[in-house]
Amino acid sequence: MPRRTMIEAIRDAMDVSMGRDDKVVVFGEDVGFFGGVFRCTQGLQAKYGKSRCFDAPINESGIVGSAIGMAAYGLKPCVEIQFADYMYPAYDQLTQEAARLRYRSNGDFTCPIVVRMPTGGGIFGGQTHSQSPEALFTHVSGLKTVVPSNPHDAKGLLIAAIEDPDPVIFLEPKRLYNGPFDGHHDRPVTPWSKHALGEVADGHYTVPLGKAAIRRPGSAVTVLAYGTMVYVAQAAVEETGIDAEIIDLRTLLPLDLDAIVASVKKTGRCVIVHEATLTSGFGAELSALVQENCFYHLEAPVARVAGWDTPYPHAQEWDYFPGPARVGRALLETMGA
């Protein structure tokens, strides 16, 4: 099976979708001729023409707002916000319009759009190239929120998102674009070509939204993670030697609660890991759900390892990023060690 980076897998997902359905259009800042600042749309304009893949003015509200209008017409726009940190001007359109269009019109109009945005830190991106705003989307009724962690899933989830009849926020951890990253910034990064999940089938396939994946079966503690933190958790588990079960949530909303509950009921313990800031982060929702659904099975408090409640700093990158050492400590504490 061919090996692809996450960038190539995402590009392939759009290529496959555009080839299958001429209603799929792709646009955003630098997305057209240049092929995107991360190369995710390279070659699409040449292959499908300027009316299917084109450059947009620097105006996030305009990009999302026009995509909503296109969706109301009957197209399936898959648009890009260059960095998740720059989605805020579009937040009105995403939360008040895209999320509610089906509901407020009782299905008279719908909004099958995908909004791709590179997310997450670990790249010395500083305050406005590192944010993880997923909780600002999961809090919004009517949106779906997806965070892939590997090329295979990225392609399958993106095709599923494009085919989904509802608006999907597709957060791409840019730290994972070229290879998995476990937080050991002092070690060389391995490319996706050396990773099993870098195997990406040609052609059309989907990974269903709302289904988690168990990355490592275990019996001692459940780790809930997504995006880059899946690999950080794996490193922490290897380094502590704890028999943890690592669940990659993949979709945050709709959430695969059944997979989470089954695992925590088995292990009796739960550690939640995300890059986003702690307070009111998505981990708070996960923690509450685990507590509500697994209370009588819990043998330790649910732990959360997250970014500190500060803007994402530049020089202090590795003091901020929740690396394997911090996750490992949380695992040991949860085990009572």
Partner: protein, 410 residues
């Protein structure tokens, strides 16, 4: 360099406040028929002065004059008058229904009836409007059932939007009327996107965007003009300048700009101003702009100069911020009276027939209201089910919502 002294902060004020004498002498009103009608493929740079004038057809004697006249048949004009009268009667009844506690909220169109009613007749089937909350004339003029509008206002068991939306936030794809949102200006850029989609699909349909004077200050107004200009989207960008944004006079949004139409010039968009109380002028300009869009010549910005004669909404009291008699002083008059006088001047209408039509329309609206009220009002009779609250958010209900619906016991 000379000493400029201390800086002083500038906040625009309307000419007159409550207690003062209304004065619109500073509003220049060109004579009817004085503005030429350019070809639709005109170079926008050659008609920049249109953004500072006012296209008018009906003169003081009720005659249709000048190059923008003569597009509508007698039957079309009579129908236009009926649409405007129906909207005004509908408004009055629904305003009263709100006062009677049958619904929570209403917004009238008083004085602005010509804008949406006449515009609708310039569109073709399949075109899509992206209206604000003050363009119900688009629905009335397109024959959308008044009973359905009232069902939505009453949030009753027959409400097509299942009680989820505030009154008057209608939606009808079938009638080219995009779902209204409470968030101002959002639909302006969506209209441009819809038009882009039509062009991408090599379709022949066009979009119409709607915004008020106050909301032009929102950033999505700018977004829409940038996108419409960049992609030459087949869209008519309508600005309804009714002088007031709740209590805020238009100068707060317009600032030092000559007019709202002038905003379009910087984007290279042909921009026209039209007498918003002149049914014939509104229709003629709308048709010109629609033809431009349909001919792939790109967007047009149209500013409708009108006056919000009623309160902003059923929750508003304009006497707190403007003279009570200001609407009487408005120099462009009343759109219904002006079209009525034109039809009388044409010899196809009379005061007697007008009074008779008023009575007929009132009967029709009351009959519709009775029918709607048989399906319930906000606090009495039939209403949408609690189950409806959970439905229709996603195409397929996700598990967490199913659990919440069960918890709600429905």
């Amino acid at each position: 360099m000379a000493d400029a002294g201390m800086l002083r902060f500038h906040v625009p004020e309307p000419e007159v406040r409550p207690g003062g004498t209304p004065d619109f002498s500073n509003v220049p009103i060109p004579k009817a028929g004085s503005v030429p009608r350019p070809d639709i493929d005109v170079d926008p740079r050659t008609i920049r002065d249109y953004a500072f004038s006012i296209i008018r057809v009906l003169n003081r004697n009720g005659e249709a004059v000048g190059p923008w006249a003569g597009l509508l048949s007698s039957d079309e004009l009579l129908a236009g008058l009926r649409h405007m009268m129906t909207l005004r009667t509908f408004d009055a009844r629904m305003q009263m229904a709100q006062r009677q506690g049958k619904t929570s909220f209403y917004m009238q169109h008083l004085g602005e009836e010509a804008v949406a009613c006449a515009f609708r007749k310039a569109l073709a089937p399949g075109d899509m409007n992206f209206p604000t909350y003050r363009q119900a004339g688009l629905l009335i003029a397109d024959g959308y059932p008044m009973v359905t509008m009232m069902n939505q206002i009453y949030s009753n068991e027959a409400d097509p939007l299942k009680g989820r939306q505030l009154p008057i936030m209608y939606s009808s794809k079938e009638h080219g009327f995009f779902s209204i949102s409470g968030n101002l200006a959002t639909q302006y850029i969506q209209a441009v996107g819809w038009a882009m989609a039509s062009a991408i699909s090599n379709d022949s349909k066009i979009a119409a965007a709607w915004i008020g004077d106050g909301s032009t200050a929102e950033s999505d107004f700018h977004s829409a003009l940038v996108f419409a200009s960049t992609y030459k989207a087949p869209v008519v960008l309508n600005v309804v300048n009714n002088q007031w944004a709740i209590s805020t006079f238009q100068g707060i949004a317009r600032g030092g700009s000559g007019t709202f139409a002038a905003r379009g010039l910087g984007f290279g968009i042909p921009s026209l101003r039209v007498d918003g109380n002149d049914y014939l002028a509104v229709h003629a300009v709308a048709k010109w702009a629609a033809e431009r869009a349909r001919s792939n010549l790109g967007p047009t910005l149209v500013e409708y100069v009108t006056y919000r004669a009623g309160a902003h909404s059923s929750s508003d009291d304009p006497s707190a911020y403007r003279p009570k008699t200001e609407s009487d002083a408005w120099p462009l008059g009343d759109p219904i009276v002006r079209l009525k006088n034109h039809l009388i001047q044409l010899g196809i209408w009379s005061d007697e027939r007008h009074a008779q039509a008023e009575a007929e329309i009132l009967d029709t609206v009351i009959a519709a209201q009775k029918e709607a009220e048989s399906h319930g009002t906000l606090h009495a009779g039939g209403k949408p089910s609690t189950r409806d609250m959970f439905e229709g958010l996603y195409a397929e209900m996700p598990p967490h919502l199913r659990r919440q619906r069960q918890q709600a016991g429905v």
